[in-house]
Symmetry: D2
Subunit: 99 residues, 4 copies
């Protein structure tokens, strides 16, 4: 099952600056070979369900290993059976006004 | 790794009434033996990471099998390494004003 | 326009224990006279759009006043024009299996 | 109070293709003069609290006017008092590894 995910990992108990933890999560996604795109409030990810969620779990493990005692993460998950759709297709469906 | 999750599954392309799909997800959580509590905008779930996310995947599979061609799900995931915390502990931390 | 909202306010830069900030938000909702119900990963709120969002803004103001330098909040907002629906109706639509 | 928001509007009861509703929300943000950036699972918005949330309300109004009987929206809201931060600053804090 293919998924498009939006991931936002928030480490708690480490102060206000969390850029290095988010950068580590980008590294995890890179290592997993998953297509992903950072934005100002999270990261879009595209892939097989199991691969994507294994990577999300590794993000939590790594961020804890880096010293964050608590993490709260928001995930949006989209699946569809009617047709294949990539992250770029989703953006095109809005911007190309080709409804 | 223990997690507390908030899950909100939204089937698309099946009309405005989605209660039966949400009820099916409750059944999935029940079958998985996971502690869970329905509220007005989702379901709190407590358990091991792998068990909880296997159940979330089964929710998507079942809701698609029931005929929903598209699903968008929101998940909040909390993990902590400093101490164990149950769903009830989280509520108590607010209501008992025992900070 | 009536809304049902799920609100989860996460103060950052104040350590791992955030119960007192969440309790303050409960007080804000109480003062606003809004129907609300705390759960393990947020608070359900029911009311008019403007009243609910004014209260959400006050939550941010208060939590900053309490000393949190940064806040990240997740909100789910439901509106419908086909019929009135309360928080309890949403729960009933799942548990009463009266689809 | 400045906010950075991530907005994801999901019309229900209108079938699986929701691109035209999302495009209308982009128009609302444009008309409001708000800085915004579409991504594959939502739209980042930057502005004053009241301006941003007035636009979010107009999105709900417009999408209902277009015929969607039900909407479920996810919003992430970030505020901070320690310093100003733009959407681009948030991305830079991750990609420039300048922690």
């Amino acid at each position: 099952m293919k998924v498009i995910v939006d991931l936002c990992v928030v480490p708690m108990g480490v102060g206000v600056s969390v850029g290095k933890y988010v950068a580590e999560c980008q590294k995890v996604l890179q290592e997993a070979g998953l297509k992903h795109q950072l934005h100002a409030y999270g990261t879009n990810i595209e892939g097989e369900w199991d691969d994507v969620f294994a990577a999300v779990k590794r993000c939590h493990e790594r961020v804890h290993e880096m010293g964050a005692p608590r993490i709260t993460t928001s995930i949006k998950v989209g699946t569809r059976t009617d047709r294949e759709q990539s992250m770029q297709d989703k953006i095109d469906s809005v911007t190309k006004k080709d409804f």
